[in-house]
Amino acid sequence: MRTQDFIQKIKSNEIDIVEHTHKAIEECKKLNKEYNYFNAISEELAIKQANDIKKQLKQDKNSLKNKKLLGVAVSAKDAICVKGIESTAGSRILKGYKPLFDATVIKKAVEQGAIIIGKTAQDEFGFGSFNVNVGLGFEIPKNPFDKTRACGGSSGGAAGITQKASFPHIALGESTGGSIAAPASFCGVFGLTPTYGRVSRHGLIDYGNSLDKIGTLGKNAYDAALLLEAIAGFDNNESTTINEPINNYTDSINKKRNNIRIGVIKETFRDIDGKVEKNARNGIEKLKENGAKIEEVSLSLPVKYGLAAYYILATSEASTNLAKYCGMRYGMSEELKGNFNEYFSKVRSEHLGTEVKRRIILGTFARMSGYRDAYYIKAAKVRAKIIQEYKRLFKKYDALVSPTMPILPPKFSEIEKLSPLQNYMMDIMTVSPNLAGLPHLNVPVGFEEKLPVGMMLTADHLEEGKLLQIGSLFDEE
């Protein structure tokens, strides 16, 4: 059932919201046993929200008629704080931490009638491309099409449940360097990362503050647009939010548009799996069939230096963001022994995972005096240049196209063989738009060996509408 039809049925009482939510929760529990998509299922909260809606429908039906998400199940990546629900960003160091406040996106979604069903699995603090870097004691989510393969990361649980849920559901994900596009591609769903600052990060557990973006994952472009419409906008509690009006993103869906100009980034088709290339080319063909003007473009600087600049900036910021986890005030603690240095070192050594430690060390190094100019400062300059290069292209093109991931969803056994650098190379397509704060959308373009392949569309800042409009050409209906 389409989400928009479901909402109508809730409003007209054709579906009992409480009964429906109970069923949805049961399905999540069952799926979780098999696929590990949730770090926490917020059953009590969801049922309460459903009951509240049911009561309100009885009392004053009219007051709910404009609710964009009435009764729709929404899951949140674990890094997004939900008041009173354990929120760990996938790390053992935050085990037991229940936030005192809702993230702005949660507050806004609930205001529109959404039902929060749980916190989805992710790489610890978002540090990964496959969602295998889960925190100590957490389970690795499995690909909905093949349980021996990865979901992609870091918003792996979000993408997996979006593909698997039989009930109307939209996911809140988060991308720092590709963490929405990558799992969306591997799980065959639409994954929308908006412009940096379009959606408030208030209540998002930080990875890299200048890069983090909360976005949406849905079974189709409409769903992704619908949730974005509810959560976007300026926020007094978050200084980097953009004070520009929000578009009705759902209006862009399936709207005809002539003369779409598409730039195909040629460098992104080098050294990739041939099966991925074939499907991506099919996607481009489909755009052409719909009247788009296709041209090949070069984006050499971002492809060449984007990855390096990204990992320096992201880890530098991450290493400061993660300093607060020291066993005081919240999260895991240890017996108070030794001096403060000994104490926090023990807590962090015991409860942070290997990839987290690696990124803290990398980031701390990159901002050390003596190296700071060569790494951190230089990376910031590269980033400015990358933005310029994109801006130049967007004068000519409505959107740029590339494959989303260079490979098909890999087997866990294959991932184990990758070096850290090979791991980081997986983000080659996705880091640059993230670095530039540009909105981008993964659209499923086909299947290969029963595994989904995704294509990525990137548009200019605040052009989410355009992106969704083009992306909706790939909706199945």
Partner: protein, 471 residues
């Protein structure tokens, strides 16, 4: 290599808690409940997901100080993260300013006109307070109170241009005066702290940093101790090394915190949770327009316009309320008389009552009434002093009170003579002593007259009358 001219070289790094209602990056109140950890929220406790939002009032206050210290105000306000692990740090980094401070290249004049250069003025957040239940060096554990965490601080870094402990004290005092004029600091409850870099010629100016000095009186004590310590070390033939020491106010000593082998590495990066704030010309112009006249201008004006002594002008100008009181009173009565009464008598009565000028209810009208009576010799200074004491307790209409209590000075000579004759009659022994050459004995007779007139006669006049009567 010797770049310093004085034997002692002192530079200060001063932290001022500015008097905003709310904290620098959240809306928690800066004042109120003293119960530990009650004025806190996810932002100042460094909870996951919380984000800082800049307090605009604090920025205005900071710009005010920059302008008062003749600083160049930079056009962009950006914040950085200074990383180090310490239990008083809620995030284990402090949001501060690094590359570009808000203000640069300023100065502040000492009383003698010596100009002390200011390198930078920047904004930052205060850490939490650490409570050592059994003293800093003995406690087995510390308690953390986050009420202070996130309070707005201004850091002022001076050039090493202070030549001794007195100048450092004087600098701090001038700074506090300026803060008082700008109304950006709570003189009574606000905290002003300094770290001092001290070096002496004898050690070839080896830089030693003293941390944790609170208030301007302490700075002089701490520096005097440290300078003496350094001098005696050199005298004893010991070598001084670059190090960081702490001031123990109770014991009156400095003690070693750590040897400085390398500069600390704080791994500064931008805090991108806070956007660049543009400091527009409009904003600085508006603040400039609202800037009050500062102590320096007041002193100049008092000397030029009111013709009072520079020394009096300095004391009056040191406190904004005192200066304003003087100005209003001097409009109505002789400024010299006004200066004397405001800076001496009023201050004396305030000190006696342990009160601050803003805590008392009288205003300039009461002082004007009082001093007009003194100026016109309607009451004696003696009576006026007593009236002032009463006024500070609770204000009243001075003219009516004087009338009602019959406190007018006895200026009728025949009436005074009558009292004097009586006194001479009543004190034959003293009169005899005086006549036989003991000048002091006369005071006894004068005292007797003063008692009879209840202080309403001037001693000088009484003295003259008695002398002429005894001729």
């Amino acid at each position: 290599m010797n770049k310093f001219k004085t034997d002692i070289v002192v530079g200060l790094e001063i932290h001022i808690e500015v008097d905003t209602n709310t904290k620098l990056f959240c809306s928690c109140p800066t004042k109120g409940s003293e119960e530990p950890n009650t004025r806190t929220c996810p932002v100042c406790l460094g909870h996951p997901g919380s984000k800082p939002v800049l307090n605009k009032k604090a920025v205005e206050f900071a710009i005010k100080l920059c302008l008062a210290l003749n600083c160049k105000v930079n056009k962009e306000l950006i914040f950085s993260r200074k990383s180090y692990f310490y239990p008083d740090m809620s995030k284990n980094y402090q949001i501060t300013q690094y590359e570009i401070p808000l203000g640069e290249e300023g100065n502040l004049k000492l009383r003698d006109g010596k100009e002390i250069g200011i390198t930078r003025v920047h904004m930052e957040e205060d850490p939490a307070s650490l409570i050592h239940p059994s003293g800093m060096q003995q406690s087995a554990y510390v308690l953390v109170d986050y009420n202070r965490s996130g309070n707005p601080l201004l850091e002022i870094v001076t050039k090493p241009e202070l030549g001794n402990a007195e100048e450092a004290r004087e600098f701090m005092k001038q700074l506090i005066t300026t803060l008082g004029y700008l109304k950006i600091f709570d003189i009574n409850n606000g905290i002003i702290k300094a770290d001092a870099n001290v070096s002496i010629k004898g050690s070839d100016y080896t830089r030693i940093e003293i941390k944790n000095i609170t208030g301007f009186k302490e700075i002089e004590r701490a520096l005097n101790y440290e300078i003496a310590r350094q001098k005696s070390a050199i005298a004893e033939g010991r070598k001084l090394e670059q190090e960081t020491r702490s001031w123990d106010s109770e014991k009156g000593i400095t003690f070693l915190l750590r040897k400085k082998e390398t500069e600390e590495d704080y791994g500064y990066i931008l805090d991108t949770d806070l956007v660049k704030t543009e400091i527009t010309k409009d904003l600085t112009d508006k603040i400039k327009k609202d800037m009050p006249e500062l102590a320096h201008d007041k002193i100049k004006k008092f000397v030029a316009k009111h013709k009072i002594k520079k020394e009096d002008a300095e004391i009056l100008a040191a406190e904004k309320e005192l200066a304003e009181m003087f100005e209003k009173v001097a409009e109505e009565v002789n400024p010299v008389l006004a200066a004397k009464w405001v800076r001496r008598e009023l201050v004396r009565v305030l000190n006696y009552n342990k009160k601050e000028i803003h805590e008392i209810e009288i205003d300039e009208k009461h002082l004007i009434q009082l001093l007009k009576l003194v100026e016109n010799k309607k009451i004696t200074e003696n009576v006026a002093q007593k009236l002032l004491e009463k006024l500070v307790e609770k204000p009243f209409d001075v003219n009516e009170y004087v009338k009602k209590e019959r406190l007018e000075a006895v200026s009728d000579v025949s009436e005074l003579e009558k009292y004097c004759r009586e006194a001479i009659k009543e004190n034959p022994k003293a009169v005899e002593d005086y006549k036989s050459g003991n000048e002091k004995a006369l005071n006894f007779v004068i005292g007797s007259v003063m008692k009879k007139t209840k202080g309403k006669a001037t001693p000088k006049e009484v003295n003259e009358i008695i002398k002429s009567l005894l001729k």
